[in-house]
Each structure stands twice: as structure tokens, then as C-alpha cells.
Symmetry: C2
Subunit: 572 residues, 2 copies
């Protein structure tokens, strides 16, 4: 297309609100514009990339037999009440009433709608398995929309839902979806990892993986092993047991004793006060789990992983207990809780349980205990993995060490099991005539988030560097001077020739200075640039690949041949 007509409002300055590189460049290069906090318009270039991402996703979904449909954004609230999510979803769910006062939600996801749809239409095992998907606008009222498309309030998702007769069937469907996701993100030119994850608010009984694009701006921590394929989200990651820690083994025989620690109520203060490292202590935290008070003990240098704890408790809601509840449970103010003689159930992280002897709070203001021996001085009834792993911890699978990266979640696959089919009554009759709930999975890809994630990995100091598969155009023809007739003639010929061969070409026919054109071209990031300048009369052009410093002077024919070579294997 001809750039002088195109709506590509490039900006010389970075808008102040752009914290992330991708946000910065997508705004400056004229791909997106903010309409309200977390709500964006996709300008022509941005939409072209979204359509290319969508085309890749559709091809891979079709390849595994998933069928596309399109469901509404407005969802009757009663469906969400039936699934039990209406009340627990919280403020992220956008709610509204129609003119008759009937309540609706703007869908952040479609489990309720699709499960009801399939329930109404399918009753026999002979129609299963079935995988349905859509590419559709989702709404989530994020508390803190940020980083442009990375955390928005209205965004494009591909969401798929599978219905199988049994768990073996779900395993197969899950695996084929997992493989399709790997192909999709590879085709998008991304460096990513599939990591074990937590099911979060979607819920579910089984396995779940997140697909994480590795990027410093990512809000998730990806834990990987340096020695094997192990990879997990920090919220889910496990570690192998570490070497013993705590007080020296020699202290194990002594009975515990109280010592005075005036105004020492944090681990940092205790380390400073005693001169011992944090891993010698154990800290006791008091939580309210669905209103019930419980305590959890982790090593002094560890942090409680609330998701792990919540799952161990089977609790809907978990939060730190308030001062009054802490006082009631421990008999002391916040900061002096300890495992000895506690009035509430105690959950002990397995690393804390493995300590030989340990220094803990005394459940008494300004006092701690030393020589406390796990199993002797407090019960080890509820030992489990309740902590976040640390970088450098042992891998749970091999002898390697764990490494941390930042990641952007661009995909998520879940085994839901019967969570929704049971609540919404999606059953089928099996071969023996018995009614059984369908076994479900759900699978999401953030289409608009991918637009940003790709830019996070594909840019340099001048602008975006699109991978060949997703570039808004394949070739950028730049006429140095539109007033030079020979340049215009050659440009028009190349433009026609490339388009007739099926290439997607943008012709910069603007009456602008060459410097402006080259700057915009670098910002926009089309992979191949052909510049038609002074040598046009001799049929010569400059050929440059965006991701390279080299610029070649070639005959127009050779430049065209190089374009074909560059895009060999890509659809046009």
C-alpha cells in the first residue's frame, strides 16, 4: 500500500506513560493508541499484525481439529451464579444491567457459556471428543492496567475448550493442544518456555502449563533448571531439599530456652541481634483461611507461597491474620509468634521441618526461643511444601540448580476435569447407557498480548524488528525523492512486480526528507527494505534487511529475487 495514504501516525517522542519497550515502540511506530487506561485501539499496522497472529493460531487450531465459533461478550449473570464464580471473581469481572434490570457480565473467559452450550446440544459419547475455540474480545477490570497491551482491560484472546469422555481422552487433547501452542509460539519467532503452573481462578483438578515469553518486563517469575527440562512458574515451582541448616547439630540435645530480644520482631532484626544468618531461624506467620486462624512455619530466609498453602488448606480465601487474631492465637503481639505451644493448627514447611534445631519466636513479647527441635518441641503433623523456591535451590528432578527468569504469560493450558461440567450439568450418555460428566480442558492465548510480547523480544535501539511471519508488510520500498521521475518509475515497477508475485509491500511515496523516511522505516520494522535513490537511472537499488547492518547495492531484479528468497516458506 502507499504510505502517503496510510494512517501510520509515528511519533518522535516516547509518550510518558510507556514504561515497557514494546509499549513505547508500538505507540511511536503508530501501531496502537490508548483510548482509556488499559483500553487500546489497534491502528492499521497493529491490526495487520494481530490478523497475522490470528491466522497462525487458526491454522494450528484447525490442524488439531479444533472448530472455531464466536460467542458473545455479554454473558447472563445467572450462568456465573450457577458455576459459583459470580461472587468469587471479584472486581475484575465487569458487571452491568440491561434496561430491564437483568444482570450481565462482560466475559473475561467463556467456560460458563460454552459448557452450557455444549450441555444443551450434545448428549452422546458418539459426538465426543469436541474442541471449540474462538478469537474474541475479553474484558477484565485490572486493578493496575500497565505496560500497554501486556496488562489491558479489553483485549483479544484465543480461548479453546475441550470436551472428552474420560481423563485419557483429555490427556490426548491436552497434549495435542500443548504441541499446537509450541508450534504457534515458534512460528511467532518467540523464545519461550512451557512451565508448570497454578490453575488460578479458573480452577481445575489437574495439570496446567503456562507458556512464558522470556523478557525482563515480564510480571511472572519463571523457574528453570540449569541441568534438565524442569520449568515452572515461581508460584508453583518446587525445589529439592537443601543441605541441613539451622543451629549446629550440637545444639540438638539441649532443651529449648527462652532468651530476651527486646524490640526484635523481624528476621532481619534477629539476624543483626544474634549475628547469625537468616537460615538459622524459623519464622511463624499467622493466617486467616476462610475465617479460620492457622499458623505456618518456614525457614528464616524463605517466603511463604500463599498459593501452595491455600491449596493445602483447600481454602477459597487466604490472608494474613490481623493483630487481634494473632494475639489470640499466640498470646503475643505480631512479631513474636513461634511454633511452641501455639493454640492454632501449625503447617510446617518441609525445609523448616528438616532443621536440626532452630531459633523461633517465644509467643511472648520481646522473647525468642533457641534450641527448639522440630518434632520434639512442636508437632510435625502438617508438613508440606509451603514456600517459594529461591534462585540457586536444588532442582526437584535432578542435581542441577534452579535459575530465575522474568516471563510474560502468553498462553495457558488447563485440565479442568469436571469442575464446570458438574456444576452446569454437562453430561453425556456413555456406551453402557450411563450418564457421566464431560471431562473438560481450557486453553488460552493472549492474541493482543502477543503483539507486545513479540516486540519485547524483537527490537533494537531504532525500533521494532518484526519476525518474517508477523510483519505488517513484507517489503518496505522507499523512494528517496518522489520528485525524481526515474526513482518514481522504478519504484512503481517494483511495487507492481512484487505485489503481483503476492508480496505485501508498503511503498513510502511521501514527500518527506530521506532521513524522516529511514527513521520511520526503522521504527516500523518491516524485515526487508529496498531503497530507490540516485542509482535508479541505472536500475540499481539498496537492499537492506532490518535485522542487519549490511546494505547492499543490487540491481532491481536481484533485489526482488532476494525478497523471494527471504520469504521462502512464508505464506503471503
Amino acid at each position: 500500500m502507499r504510505q502517503h495514504n496510510l494512517f501510520i501516525p509515528t511519533l518522535r517522542e516516547a509518550p510518558a506513560e510507556a514504561e515497557a519497550t514494546s509499549h513505547h515502540y508500538l505507540l511511536r511506530a503508530g501501531f496502537i493508541r490508548q483510548i482509556a487506561a488499559g483500553i487500546y485501539g489497534y491502528l492499521p499496522l497493529g491490526l495487520r499484525v494481530l490478523q497475522k497472529i490470528s491466522a497462525v493460531v487458526r491454522e494450528e487450531m484447525e490442524r488439531i481439529g479444533a472448530q472455531e465459533l464466536l460467542l458473545p461478550a455479554m454473558q447472563p449473570a445467572d450462568l456465573w451464579q450457577q458455576s459459583g464464580r459470580y461472587d468469587v471473581y471479584g472486581q475484575e469481572l465487569i458487571r452491568l444491567q440491561d434496561r430491564n434490570g437483568r444482570e450481565f457480565a462482560l466475559g473475561p473467559t467463556h467456560e460458563e457459556v460454552i459448557t452450557t452450550l455444549v450441555r444443551n446440544e450434545i448428549s452422546s459419547y458418539r459426538r465426543l471428543p469436541l474442541t471449540l475455540y474462538q478469537i474474541q474480545t475479553k474484558f477484565r477490570d485490572e486493578r493496575r492496567p500497565r505496560f500497554g497491551l501486556l496488562r489491558g482491560r479489553e483485549f483479544l484472546m484465543k480461548d479453546a475448550y475441550s470436551f472428552d469422555v474420560d481423563w485419557q481422552g483429555l490427556d490426548r487433547t491436552y497434549r495435542s493442544m500443548y504441541d499446537a501452542y509450541n508450534r504457534i509460539f515458534e512460528r511467532c519467532g518467540l523464545r519461550f518456555r512451557a512451565v508448570e503452573a497454578d490453575a488460578g481462578s479458573i480452577g481445575g483438578e489437574g495439570e496446567t502449563h503456562e507458556f512464558m515469553v522470556l523478557a525482563d518486563i515480564g510480571e511472572d517469575t519463571v523457574v528453570t533448571c540449569a541441568g534438565c527440562q524442569y520449568a515452572a512458574n515461581l508460584e508453583k515451582a518446587e525445589a529439592g531439599l537443601s543441605e541441613s541448616s539451622g543451629e549446629a547439630a550440637a545444639e540438638r540435645s539441649a532443651a529449648y530456652e527462652k532468651f530476651h530480644t527486646p524490640n526484635v520482631s523481624t528476621i532481619e532484626q534477629l539476624a543483626a541481634f544474634t549475628g547469625l544468618p537468616e537460615r538459622h531461624f524459623a519464622k511463624t506467620l499467622i493466617f486467616a483461611a476462610d475465617g479460620r486462624t492457622i499458623a505456618v512455619l518456614v525457614r528464616g530466609d524463605h517466603e511463604v507461597n500463599e498459593l501452595k498453602l491455600q491449596q493445602a488448606l483447600g481454602a477459597e480465601k487466604l490472608e494474613l491474620a490481623d493483630a487481634a487474631a494473632t494475639q489470640a492465637a499466640t498470646g503475643a503481639p505480631v512479631g513474636f509468634a513461634g511454633p511452641v505451644g501455639l493454640a492454632v493448627p501449625l503447617y510446617v514447611d518441609r525445609e523448616a521441618a528438616a532443621m536440626e534445631a532452630v531459633i523461633t519466636g517465644a509467643n511472648e513479647q520481646d522473647y525468642h526461643l533457641r534450641h527448639v527441635v522440630p518434632g520434639r518441641d512442636f508437632e510435625l503433623e502438617r508438613v508440606g511444601d509451603y514456600r517459594n523456591v529461591l534462585e540457586g535451590d536444588n532442582c526437584p528432578r535432578c542435581s542441577g540448580k534452579l535459575l530465575f527468569y522474568r516471563g510474560i504469560e502468553v498462553g495457558h493450558v488447563f485440565k479442568l476435569g469436571t469442575k464446570y461440567s458438574e456444576k452446569l450439568g454437562a453430561c453425556f450418555i456413555d456406551e453402557t447407557g450411563k450418564e457421566r460428566p464431560m471431562i473438560m480442558g481450557c486453553y488460552g492465548i493472549g492474541i493482543s498480548r502477543l503483539l507486545s510480547a513479540v516486540v519485547e523480544q524483537h527490537h533494537d535501539g531504532q525500533g521494532i524488528v518484526w519476525p518474517a511471519s508477523l510483519a505488517p508488510f513484507q517489503v518496505h520500498l522507499i523512494v528517496v525523492s518522489v520528485k525524481d521521475e526515474r526513482q518514481m518509475q522504478l519504484s512503481e515497477r517494483l511495487y507492481r512486480q512484487l505485489r503481483e508475485a503476492g508480496a505485501q509491500v508498503m511503498l513510502d511515496d511521501r514527500d518527506e526528507r530521506p532521513g524522516v523516511k529511514f527513521k520511520d522505516a526503522d521504527l516500523i520494522g518491516i524485515p526487508v527494505r529496498i531503497t530507490i535513490g540516485k542509482l535508479a537511472g541505472e536500475g540499481m537499488v539498496e537492499y537492506k534487511v532490518r535485522d542487519s547492518l549490511e546494505q547492499l547495492t543490487l540491481s532491481a531484479e536481484e533485489a526482488v529475487a532476494r525478497v523471494y528468497e527471504f520469504y521462502k516458506g512464508e505464506d503471503s
Copy 2:
């Protein structure tokens, strides 16, 4: 694709809620399902047709240089307050608040968002003209959602917006859009008319046309001339003056006189009471226009056209006056208003003004006046066209008569002028350095409504008959018995062969009785059907075009050749 895997839940019975034929068949053939009143899910077949419609629209938009973008559904309410539409749009606008209490509207249209966007990015005449469009989900909380996709609350629209430097530019853009719309609806295989229309709530200063698909279920009345190209929506249609009517010319000399008409308060009662036809009377209606009381006089057999009246008055809001206001204006109860001695401004329809003498209400209970002469007995200061035309009225352009049809509005083109650019400050600097508001147009197509409109025109007693351009699949292969190996072999060969040639093929490989398969095939309406049955061993098949009674027994090769011939010229 293989039908045994496809999610095509056909129904034997028509669902009770389906009043319109298109709604009935789209439900029965498994193209759509209702999620809530006026809110639908598009199942795989329905979505395939929507995608084909969208592809036609995109091609024709691209051909006229319109650029696609994608804007959000959630629109900040303050934009609507700036344009002045937030308060006047009424209950059809779906409103919501985000978690911070900020107000949003779910876009029924995007003038505010796009005008603001273009205002922020374009300041020079050198970047104009510009036409932007999107295919996007719209929301309108209809008071009475009905007829399936014909009047829904969440629906797909193509909406385009143009920005020109002057009215001549808008005229050109409007014309090219008008022509593109004609091509789009022709390519969709529709019988339609472009009709002059009223701008409605979008507002605007200039010309506007609606594209009406002719169908009995249509909620609009299309007025066309039997003799020329004149066509208009009833709300906008004009008529040539009719022959004189009213009392005989002989009555003109007499002074008017009051006569007793006990309990006669409607035109029907007056006609029965006097034995005269309704066209001999004139009726006086009292309205409240933005709170001001006015009267309008039309011939007894005519109806007031409130839109015409409202435009003549320049009123935001027009409604029939209540009993108290009527009593105050006329001195009589409702039913006896007349033009003589009225206390409020009187608007006289030109057909009423042209009557020689007329019988009217007397502004006194149980009395009417006869021999009332327009211009003598009441003023003719405000004469205009304030009535709906009637079928059989004279054409305003030629000597033909007007005919009425029912129509479904599927497209609308407006010249908006500066209505939004002035309110939202979308200005540009012209060649002389002067700031001027952009001259805008807006252009809509109901994408999801088209799905239904096409079915209204393309069906028979057995189901849908898709036009070749929009069929969800191009060829329906039906295996009579999936247990017959020769049938399956031939089917698989044809399936592969046709798909490799680029045809879109659905293979009915379900283990169902042939009767079920043929019934479903007729219901779904794929244009070409090839049945592989008993003659498969001899390489023979049955070839049938959906829209024909003829079924041919052909060799498989000849059947394939006929498929190619049938679809010659269509994209695949």
C-alpha cells in the same frame, strides 16, 4: 471437513421463539444459538458465513482505499458527553462503571472514539482524505430484540468513517462508498434497494441512504416508484401532490358552520357518522415538541410523519401532548381539536392546505365544523410535508405511482458534515494556513444482520439455499453408507481431490440413515451436493445443485468438473 466431528447441532423442530424464517432455519441448521434475549453465539457454520461476508466487505473496502483498524467496545463516557449524545441516546446505550467508578458506554457506534483519534493524530490537509473502518462487535440494548440476528443487542458491524477537507471531497468519498456497498450486496446475492433515508440518532446535515434487502419480515417500509428510480424509506418518502380532495368545491363559498357530533372523536367515527370518505376531513393532532405545545393538521386519511415534523421544528424530542396540554391548547378534550381559533402554532401538511373546503374538529366537545376553508378560516403560515406517503400516491419525481415493500436495513451511508468534528475539535490546517473542521461521513453494514437477511431471501421449504459466494462450504459430499467400503473409498478420493484443488468440502461421514443425511443437507443448504451411493463401485455419483430439483447420475470425474464450473469466478 468431516461432518462426524463437526459441531452442527441440527434440530428437527423449530424452536418456539423463531418468528422469522431466517431465525428458524439458522437455529434448526445449527448456525446460531441464543445465549440471552437478542444475544447469540455463532456456531462453526454460522461463523464461516460471517467470515465470508467479512471477506467480501474487506475486499471492497480495500478497493476504495479504506483502511481497517480495530477500536475498543468500552468507550469513556466523557467522549459521549462531549458529543452531546450521552444524555440523548437513551436506554439503548449500555452503560457501566469500572472499579474506580469511571463511567463507560459499550459502543453502539464509534463516531466519538474515531473523531477523537483522528483529531489527535492529523492536523494537515496533506493527510486527508482518510477513510477508516472496522469489523467489530457493537452493543445496543434494544427495547424489543426480535427476529434472531435481525434485531439483536450484541451484533457485528462494519463501520467506516471518512474525513475530508471539504464537501466536494465528502461527495466523492460518499459516492465511492455507495458504489462499494452496491457491489458488496450484489456479491452477497441479495435483491436490495438503496433508498433515501433519515439520519436518525447519528444526526448529520446531509444526504443519507439506506440499503434495504427486500423481505416481508423487514421492519422498514421501502417506498419505490413504479415508473422511475425513486426509492426512499417511508419515514423520508415524499409524494407528488394528489388530486384535490375534501368537500366539493361548491362548499367553498359558504362560511364554516358548527354541527353536533355526539361522541364522535375519531376520523373513523366521523366517516361513519357523516357517510363521507376519510379524505374529506382534516385531523388536528396536538404535540409536545421539546416541551412546547404545537398542532399539526393532516388530511383525514393521512398519518403524521413525526420525523418530518420533528425536523421542521428542529426539535430534539417530539411526542403526542397529554390530555391536559390538549385541553389547554384547544379548550376541548382529546378528539375534537381543529385548526380554527387554536391557541398554539399550527403546522399544516401541504395536502391539507390544498383542500378546497374541509370538515374539522370544532375545539368544543361533541362538535365539528364543516365548510372550513384553509387560508380563510385558519392561517397557512407553516405549510410543509408532515405526513407519511400512502401506497398509490404520486411519485415526487415522475408521473408514476408509489409502491410499498418491506425491507431489512443492512447498510447505511451518511454525510455527517461537521456535527462531530466541531463538537470534538477535529480540525485541520488547510493550504492557506486556516483551521477548518474536517468534513465527515459514516457508513455502516450489519454483518451479522446480513447473515439473516441472506437467508430471508435464499431458502425454500426444506432449508437454506446459500448463494455460492457465502456458502459455509462449497461442496457437500454425502456417503450413503459409511459401512460400504467402496463408497468410503470413492468419497475419500473425491474429498482429497476437491480439497487439493482448493474447494471447501464437507464430507458427511456420519453413521446415520441416508434420510437423516439428506434432510440435514437440505437444511444446511450447501450449493452443490455429491452423493456417493450404490453406484460407487462403478465410479458413479449423484450430482445435485441445492437450488434445483434435478439430480444427475455422473461419473465422479464429471461431477468434479461440474463443481469447478459451478464455482468458476468465486474465490475459494
